[in-house]
């Protein structure tokens, strides 16, 4: 089973890297960019076919390590 975990900064947390990327995009002439927030994506392969268990395991993985919940939110998507 494949899963994707996305970790993003919470609203209101300053993101200097996102700001720098936003500036770079604007200087490249990419039109319409209002703001950029940088995050992380983890593609994870899981053994077994139980989606509920996989979801629990990934939630634990996020809370214990993948995300720092002081400043970050996470989203878990389980594929086929």
């Amino acid at each position: 089973m494949k899963a994707r975990v996305t970790v993003t900064l919470k609203t209101g947390v300053l993101d200097p890297q996102g700001k720098a990327i936003e500036g770079a995009l604007k200087s490249l002439g990419i039109e319409g960019v209002e703001s950029v927030r940088q995050g992380k994506v983890f593609d994870i392969e899981l053994a077994g076919a139980d989606r509920a268990r996989a979801e629990d395991a990934l939630k634990a993985a996020c809370e214990k390590l993948l995300a720092n919940t002081v400043i970050e939110n996470f989203r878990v998507e389980i594929g086929g």
């Binding site: 947390v13 300053l14 200097p16 890297q17 720098a20 214990k64 390590l65 720092n68 002081v70």
Partner: protein
């Protein structure tokens, strides 16, 4: 004073910390491997040194913060034992939950490596008794992620409880403004735990203990620790 310096893969200031501890106390510290489960018996002080544990992968200090030895460090702190985390050690302390908040990328997005003045916020702790409140000390900083951030409630609590240890200032003691090298909220360079037995700080006092390398203002921190244990033993 029995000190234990924890070594993680990628630590690189453990010998500097060890030298500062030895010069102050006359005793060589124990060096403890991150995969160990226990601290040496009778450990008074645990030091988490600077460096780049696990190559700063994921988030600085994130993987080290979950190392085996950190359970023993948490238990030591819960008993009131002293813990000092410097630079990457501070990042490990916040990632392991021993101190609140988080250290984010420097506001200017650059690694800063330079001498930096700090103002001592309090001097009635085991780590700072050799200093006086308001004293300006010159130590070194070397970090890319030293921008201390916490939610408003946490910052209010830290300020209200007097848990800010040091703040960034200029040579004249003016706190903040252009003297803040990384954008830290309230110009925070170091903070204490609620029990004042855990100190995390970005600057490196262990590198300013010899006039050959620019000053000795870091000695006070280690002298304070030695005095603390001499007083408790007496």
């Amino acid at each position: 004073m029995k000190a234990a310096v924890v070594i993680f893969p990628g630590s690189n200031r453990e010998r500097d910390a060890g030298r500062a501890l030895r010069d102050a106390s006359g005793h060589e510290p124990h060096y403890v491997w991150h995969a160990d489960h226990e601290l040496p018996r009778g450990t008074d002080l645990v030091v988490l040194p600077g460096g780049f544990s696990y190559g700063d992968y994921l988030r600085c200090g994130a993987i080290a913060g979950r190392a085996n030895i950190m359970d023993a460090v948490r238990a030591h702190a819960a008993r009131g034992g002293l813990v000092l985390g410097v630079c990457n050690g501070f990042q490990i302390l916040v990632e392991s939950g021993l101190l609140p908040g988080v250290l984010m990328r420097n506001a200017q997005l650059r690694f800063v490596c330079k001498m930096q003045h700090l103002k001592v916020d309090r001097a009635d702790t085991p780590f700072a008794s050799a200093y006086h409140v308001g004293q300006v000390i010159k130590v070194a900083i070397a970090h890319g992620e030293g921008n201390y951030v916490a939610d408003e409630d946490t910052i209010d609590r830290l300020e209200h409880e007097g848990r800010v240890a040091f703040r960034y200032c200029d040579a004249d003691g003016h706190v903040g403004g252009s003297a803040n090298p990384n954008g830290s909220l309230h110009d925070i360079a170091g903070i204490y735990s609620a029990g004042f037995n855990v100190l995390g700080m970005m600057p490196h006092p262990e590198n300013l203990i010899d006039p050959l390398v620019g000053g000795t203002d870091g000695r006070g921190l280690f002298a304070s620790l030695v005095d603390h244990f001499a007083a408790t033993a007496a």
